[in-house]
Symmetry: C2
Subunit: 681 residues, 2 copies
């Protein structure tokens, strides 16, 4: 069976991350060249990803038929096409991207086995590829016919994009050319097909190829790929995807962001993953071309998203129907869609914005989304997945069908999310740190080593922290460069109070101390400029006392409710932890009582819980047994009779203790109710 070549090894310790801007890119920051997470919270999540989730991939792709379909296209197997979705190949290439990033990590367990599996899948892809470079099993096998004739739904360019990203990952991690060759052949075929004066003037219904083409340009130096990405961006919003819709049941052109040119768009809209992949690609183009109008559009759209269309968890995409963004402030709690893939896409876009602008707010959102938007999508054991991420599951929730939310599954018929989580976790170190000419920036806090080149040479720091359970972050300089440079630490947007402890031999002052040489945090960055020596240490203490959080009053869905947060974590009540409150739907939180923290190493992989108190509402009498509404005549001065005074419904409420767990850890025990937003009493 051991037909695979010798296991490939990482070519260097240089970071193999998804975004590597060209030398010409007009950007504020570059991803750190060295980034290794060596311990703590994310190390454990990445360990499970590396030991369980990623290794499971080939077997899952085999049993779901994806690999069989590639063999059909290659002519090496017989039988019927498996599955009825045109984009099944992308499950394969997303897994391949995940496995490739993992191979770039020197700590990867069972490297030889993984490397062999990767090689076998790459060989399948190469065999399935047609002579002219085309590769999509759906149109090769399941629905042979003209290519690129069903751009709205066919996902051909989408699948190509995921192939390109896998190829870039594989090349960066291993130095190998085989998958890159497959990708370039397909890219050249597409480049020969699409564009001004070429056979097809069109775009893909599902953006993805744009960001992939920019990265393929970065990896190969082939300018045509960047130009083609720019072409796809520019041609969007001109109704090229219009179709005859005889059933009248399709979503509008905004679903695919073809309703308005991206430079003119005022808000994020339509299918959330499509929108955010598109914006990641547009940001890549803006980074490489330096085009100010495109950059301004990106900044405007990011702010429109975060201001009006983002859940507290960082999740995006409110609608189950069409997987679309909702209206501004339309953020339903109990029916949040919040597709795991959309949270990942949000991180991918925000990271490109962080590099482009240097602003800390993008990494604020990344942190929030990592912990609370993506991580709930995978179970603690790495084997169970959520496609959608509701913020509330009611008592007695009626599970039915494959609703892809509120219940973990080992895989999905539409399995976009699991390999997406895998590729994000495998490449996670990439999102932690950056450098510029003036120094090094820490965007996220995870035990490990991070470094790269500044104008003053190579710098490296080591991070030690108990984050997110503890707020102390110790940064030690390992390589100090040659002159003064700035160590920038992100002070998270959720943090109200922090302190910086200087090293014993220097004056790195607390910003609260008078006459500090270093400025206090500005726009989210605490910048410490000095001449560093190896061994210098900075200790940042972030205040992580529990917080009560409310939403803007236009978020109708959670009026009168608060959420619990601590540090970067959003908390929730899950049924399993409330022996005294058998009905979560009837729980009220007492906001005047404090919340106590309790670290419980044995619970859910080790979490800090928040314990508060509240009331459990009794069954209140309704005026008519069958009607759940209650009226009083208008103008009633007696407040007790006011209809919105819910005390009238409360019955005999009893005090209860309430235990909250981090939202990312929910749905790891038996099924049961859950809620993030809690009514108050």
């Amino acid at each position: 069976m051991s037909s695979s070549p010798a296991a490939s090894r990482p070519v260097s310790t240089r970071l193999s991350g998804p975004v590597r801007p060209s030398d010409r890119a007009r950007i504020a920051l570059r991803p750190a060249e060295v980034a290794r997470i060596t311990g703590g919270f994310w190390h454990e999540r990445r360990r499970v990803n590396a030991e369980t989730s990623i290794p499971q991939g080939p077997a899952l792709l085999e049993s779901a038929g994806n690999l069989h379909n590639l063999r059909l296209a290659a002519g090496t197997a017989d039988g019927a096409y498996r599955g009825a979705l045109p984009f099944l190949d992308s499950d394969v290439t997303k897994w391949l991207e995940a496995a490739s990033w993992q191979l770039g990590d020197p700590d990867t367990p069972n490297r030889r086995t993984l490397s062999g599996a990767v090689d076998r899948v790459i060989r399948l892809l190469a065999e399935a590829q047609q002579d002219d470079g085309y590769l999509q099993t759906w149109y090769q096998v399941a629905k042979p016919g003209p290519r690129f004739a069903e751009l709205l739904r066919g996902h051909e360019l989408y699948c190509a994009g995921h192939l390109f990203q896998a190829a870039v990952a594989h090349h960066r991690s291993t130095g190998r050319e085989d998958l890159l060759t497959v990708a370039r052949r397909f890219a050249d075929h597409i480049d020969g097909t699409f564009g001004p004066g070429k056979p097809v003037d069109g775009i893909c219904g599902h953006p993805e190829i744009e960001t992939a083409l920019v990265e393929l340009y970065r990896e190969t130096g082939e300018r045509r790929y960047l130009d083609l990405a720019g072409y796809f961006i520019d041609r969007r919003g001109h109704g090229l995807l219009d179709e005859d819709d005889p059933r009248g049941l399709a979503p509008g052109p905004d679903h695919c962001q073809d309703h308005v040119p991206v430079r003119e768009a005022k808000t994020v809209t339509g299918h959330a993953v499509r929108q955010l992949y598109l914006l990641a690609g547009a940001t890549d183009v803006a980074a490489e071309t330096g085009e100010p109008e495109l950059r301004a559009a990106m900044e405007r759209l990011w702010e429109a998203m975060t201001t009006t269309k983002t859940y507290l968890t960082g999740g995006v995409g409110a609608h189950h129907r069409w997987e679309d963004f909702g209206d501004p402030y339309e953020l339903p709690n109990e029916r949040a869609y919040c597709e795991t893939c959309a949270a990942i896409a949000s991180i991918q876009w925000s990271w490109r914005m962080a590099l482009l602008t240097g602003q800390a707010r993008y990494s604020d959102l990344i942190e929030r989304t990592l912990y609370n938007g993506v991580l709930p999508g995978v179970s603690l054991d790495g084997r169970g997945w959520l496609y959608t991420n509701p913020l509330q599951v009611r008592d007695g929730y009626e599970y039915h069908g494959e609703d892809q939310g509120a219940r973990r599954a080992p895989w999905f018929t539409c399995a976009c999310c699991p390999p997406n989580v895998m590729r994000l976790l495998a490449s996670l170190p990439h999102y932690v740190a950056s450098t510029d000419a003036d120094g090094l920036q820490l965007h996220q806090y995870a035990d490990g080593s991070y470094g790269g080149s500044t104008a003053d040479g190579r710098v490296m720091v080591r991070v030690d922290t108990g984050y997110p359970w503890q707020g102390r972050i110790t940064v030690t300089v390992d390589e100090a460069g040659t002159g003064e440079w700035t160590l920038s630490l992100r002070v998270p947007q959720w943090c109200r109070e922090y302190a910086v402890t200087p090293t014993a031999d220097d004056s790195v002052d607390s910003p609260s101390a008078g006459g500090a040489r270093e400025p206090a945090q500005q726009d989210g960055w605490l910048r410490i400029r000095r001449t560093w020596r190896p061994g210098n240490t900075v200790v940042l203490d972030l205040g992580i006392q529990p917080r009560l959080t409310a939403a803007h009053p236009r978020v109708d869905a959670v009026r009168g409710c608060v959420a619990l947060e601590r540090g970067p974590l959003v908390y929730c009540l899950e049924q399993a932890d409330q022996p005294g409150a058998p009905r979560l739907d009837d729980v009220l939180l007492d906001t005047t009582a404090g919340l106590t923290t309790r670290h419980r190493p044995g619970l859910l992989g080790g979490i800090t819980t928040l314990v508060g108190s509240g009331l459990l509402r009794g069954p209140g009498p309704a005026p008519a047994a069958w009607w759940p509404y209650r009226s009083v005549p208008s103008g009633t001065p007696d407040a007790d009779r006011a209809p919105h005074d819910t005390r009238a419904w409360n019955g005999a409420a009893v005090p209860v203790e309430l235990t909250a767990i981090p939202y990312y850890a929910w749905a790891n025990r038996h099924r049961g109710s859950m809620r993030v937003w809690l009514p108050t009493c």
Copy 2:
């Protein structure tokens, strides 16, 4: 062109209504034999239906292709099948049912024209019908092949049901046999195909044929049809509709109510219209067979629906995706689906429950749903339709695609709702009154004459009222029967105070007076038993002061909000009426101030508005410009810092006057925001 026979005329003044229980039916009440609405609110709505909506039908069905498809099936036209939905024939038969009920009304305008159009459509159906009785153009023309092979999605029995209902309506209204003959031929074909020992053991994905078969039995006396309805009811819930679902994207079996036998179901679930048509049919079967277990299931399911899954408007079906019921108390305001057809189906079911049980609560729900769940579905001019009925449209709502809600359309690709509204309004008198051996019951209040047979002979009453704008209802006895009988007046569930004025010559006492001979209202009925003489009058005064209404606290979507109601009407704020409040999303209602009523004959066809006062929130500062959430440390004793105290967000709020209109009248001017539930201050 005048190839139609002489216009048909109503055969008698006997009520031609949708439900006519057999003499053997075990029911508490029978629909009144005479029911004519002659003036007032509903007369005007029915006038528009008769003068505008129904006459438009043939042209709309022609331009949408439905009639063309019938000609294709008949072999009298050439061309391609129009439309891509299998149930397009039902648009035709629902219109035909509406037109037939209208022909049963002696006041019908342009009777000859309508009658001619009806005859032409009936001829088309007869010509399209195959020799063996089968009739569905989709499988005859668009997708020829085996019949009844796609029961989950094919809608063959659903279309048959609407044909039967149209045929019953036409026969009852005109005495004509031609459409009934078409219906019976198809019914016999189906009866020869489905059932024990017959070729097919199956049910239709979309219930509808069950209630239609019972009515066809009632009209023809053919017991086989009742048995077949019972078979379809009994076979549901046994997984007959299971399908291989390669995409994994279909809803579960509860979508079609095939997950549990109807007698065992604990709550309403799945596609709302399917569920409610099914329950109407099951109630019909229970009425004719007297089966107690089936009746008990109906009562249980009705209460589950009204207690936990019904909007204040009577609307049902929370989910856009799959058009399904949500979980208990999951009643999102801004994203309510509330399909117009589901409200109509709810009325059809509740009326059958009212007849079965004699209980007033079913007509309470009918009243609420008529005014607030169905009527918003049609514009005041009878030309514009809403498919879904949201309870909130935000400022700057992003209209896109054919989302079938929040914007009126002249017709829909899936045009189920418009002819459904037409048939309900055309048959509306049927739902107003009933009789039993002991007397006459008034379920709804509309100017007109209502009567039928009691044990003491024929009784007739006349109703005069300014309802729903005024609470006074005057009932005058026109035909008094021969002995004592009971006049029963429904005291609406929303009514807290009422008074009854006796006639000058008799002792019909107010229930508040001591020593009254007549009892006070009991379970919603005010029963007045006596010997009546022609000219006797009872005046019922219902208190209709404006009300503030709150929802059960488990309805998370409207926590902290109230709705305004008056009489049977739910009110809303619509942008057009708030010159001082340009942003409805920022309005807060002052519940301590009173609401004043103002009748405005010139506004929206004549409505009574409610005028209140409140605040317009200013733009409040957020701690981070891009993040719409705000936190405080837990345990903060200072209430002003409590995060759920929205004053922190309010900015400089300014007092505003707020004018509410009845919800049924919204979306009749330009587009703009609207909301039913109002946050309070």
